[in-house]
């Protein structure tokens, strides 16, 4: 019973933690531009992140080593360093995008100026990360992030014909506007397959001392947590499709979907949506800054960990503080946070094969994994997704340029 409760709580936190600024931006824009036609891509993305993070969790539980430790050991210093640099750039951009999202949500909630709220938001995140024990952080942000479920309620109220929605789950490509469609497809996949979540998850598993007995929990959390998280993505896209597509609204601010909820559910709905966005995005900001610190520490062999006192792992602590501050500086330039989000997702898609390949190799390596190495299902899916990831990586930037960031 206690274990069941633990799993349930973990899954709840995973659902609340699934949506980040990349999902918000791309799901809403995709819904506003193509209605339900891209829903099936969300399914492809969710299955991908399930496959990928189950593998990482399993590698962590069996080898007792986190991802970046293995990336370096397996690929050597030079290739490992290249992967590290690419990951750190993507992580920092993603963290900046999340910080921008925090400031925008705070602005809509408080009415204070955006520029003032950026440093205030970062200060709040720094203080929470410094003083709160980690389980608390994870749970607080995960649970309050569940306020995003108002989007599901709004979607239920809005949809009159579920047949049309279901039709969106069938893989399809529209008759025209192919490039923009593909750009959004790549963006949705990039937003779903975020490496930082995987680094974070695997480092946590190593720190919690996972072993073979935890493989079942690993599988359950990955499958159910991400699948249910995927429903939030659906809800965002459906709400945007119902409200913005008919009126030709191109949502430019992350607050737009929240205002959409206000249309259906009134002021309470609006506040819940904004609070949900604030905590989902704030939690993701913490995860990205910690992921960046994990990667550095694991590559260079520093003491790391969220259970360690800050003075006990000083370079790790300093790393996540510096990442937060750099992210703040990027957002303070006044560059549009939605644009930062789009860039971060697209560059993340470009760098994805670098992190996916070593994990796939290690998960297949009997020297590390023994009898727990990838089975047939994990391998067929793993290889299919690796091919898909390569295609995404190659096409992401050309598509962004051709479509002018989805503007067509």
């Amino acid at each position: 019973m206690k274990q069941f409760l633990q799993i349930a709580l973990g899954i709840l936190a995973a659902i609340g933690g699934f949506v980040d600024i990349g999902d918000l931006v791309f799901n809403v824009e995709a819904g506003a531009t193509f209605g339900f036609q891209l829903l099936w891509v969300v399914v492809v993305g969710v299955v991908g992140i399930i496959v990928y993070s189950e593998m990482c969790g399993r590698v962590a539980a069996i080898s007792k080593r986190p991802v970046f430790d293995l990336v370096r050991e397996r690929t050597g210093f030079s290739a490992g360093l290249a992967t590290l640099i690419a990951s750190e750039i993507v992580n920092l951009m993603t963290c900046a995008a999340e910080v921008g999202g925090v400031a925008l949500a705070l602005q809509l909630l408080s009415g204070l100026p955006y520029r003032v709220l950026i440093p205030l938001g970062v200060l709040a995140l720094l203080l929470l990360s410094w003083y709160l024990p980690f389980e608390w952080l994870e749970r607080v942000f995960g649970y309050i992030g569940l306020c995003l479920l108002v989007f599901a309620v709004a979607a239920f109220k809005l949809v009159d014909d579920w047949g049309k929605v279901a039709h969106g789950l069938v893989p399809q490509v529209p008759a025209t506007n192919h490039a923009v469609f593909l750009y959004f497809a790549v963006g949705l996949l990039g937003a779903a397959l975020t490496p930082y979540e995987v680094y974070f998850y695997s480092s946590g598993a190593v720190e919690d001392g996972w072993g073979p007995k935890d493989l079942r929990i690993n599988k359950i959390t990955a499958v159910i947590g991400y699948a249910l998280g995927g429903f939030l993505s659906f809800a965002l896209m459906i709400v945007a499709a119902m409200l913005f597509l008919p009126q030709g609204i191109h949502p430019q601010l992350i607050g737009t979907p929240a205002l959409g909820v206000a249309d259906v559910l009134g002021e309470v709905g609006l506040v819940l949506a904004l609070v949900g966005i604030l905590f989902a995005v704030g939690g993701a900001a913490i995860e990205t800054s910690f992921s960046g610190a994990y990667n550095l520490a694991q590559f260079f062999g520093w003491q790391w960990g969220k259970k360690e006192s800050h003075a006990g792992a000083p370079r790790f602590a300093l790393s996540w503080i510096v990442i937060f501050l750099l992210a703040m500086l990027i957002v303070m330039t006044g560059y549009d946070p939605v644009k930062i989000t789009e860039y971060s997702v697209i560059f993340s898609a470009v760098a994805l094969p670098l992190t996916f390949l070593p994990i796939l190799l290690i998960a297949n390596d009997p020297a590390y994994m023994g009898s727990h190495r990838n089975g047939k299902v994990a391998n067929v899916l793993g290889i299919l997704y690796f091919v898909l990831i390569l295609a995404i990586a190659v096409s992401a930037i050309p598509l962004m340029v051709i479509t002018n960031g989805g503007q067509g």
């Binding site: 050597g76 210093f77 260079f300 062999g301």
Partner: protein, 115 residues
């Protein structure tokens, strides 16, 4: 560590160093080898950080320029080679604790650093 044969490329290089108190204290960034008779070599030292990266490819050369002097740890200080390389003494005694000490000076100024 007594003499034994090891696959250096797979078994030691780029592995985690752990000191006698179980704390991470860098990676095996390079190895200093010496001749041991006919076609064989023995490991004399582990090189950690800074210009130890020199020999590690193009990016390593660039990184080595930014890093300082490598720390040399004699192979006799190695207690055990497994998934990680365990050392016989503490990081501070082997001069592997400098990076952490420098960072700690900043971090400790913030209240609550050692909760």
């Amino acid at each position: 560590m007594t003499a034994q044969s090891l696959d250096l490329g797979l078994g030691v290089l780029d592995h985690q160093l752990v000191d006698s108190e179980g704390r991470n204290c860098g990676k095996v960034d390079d190895l200093e080898l010496g001749p041991l008779g006919e076609g064989e070599a023995e490991v004399r030292e582990i090189l950690v950080g800074g210009n130890a990266w020199r020999a590690r490819g193009f990016l390593g050369r660039l990184a080595a320029r930014l890093g300082g002097q490598a720390v040399h740890v004699p192979w006799s200080e190695v207690a055990r080679v497994g998934a990680v390389v365990e050392l016989k003494r503490t990081a501070a005694e082997l001069r592997l604790g400098r990076g952490d000490e420098r960072a700690r000076r900043f971090v400790e100024r913030i209240p609550g650093a050692s909760r």
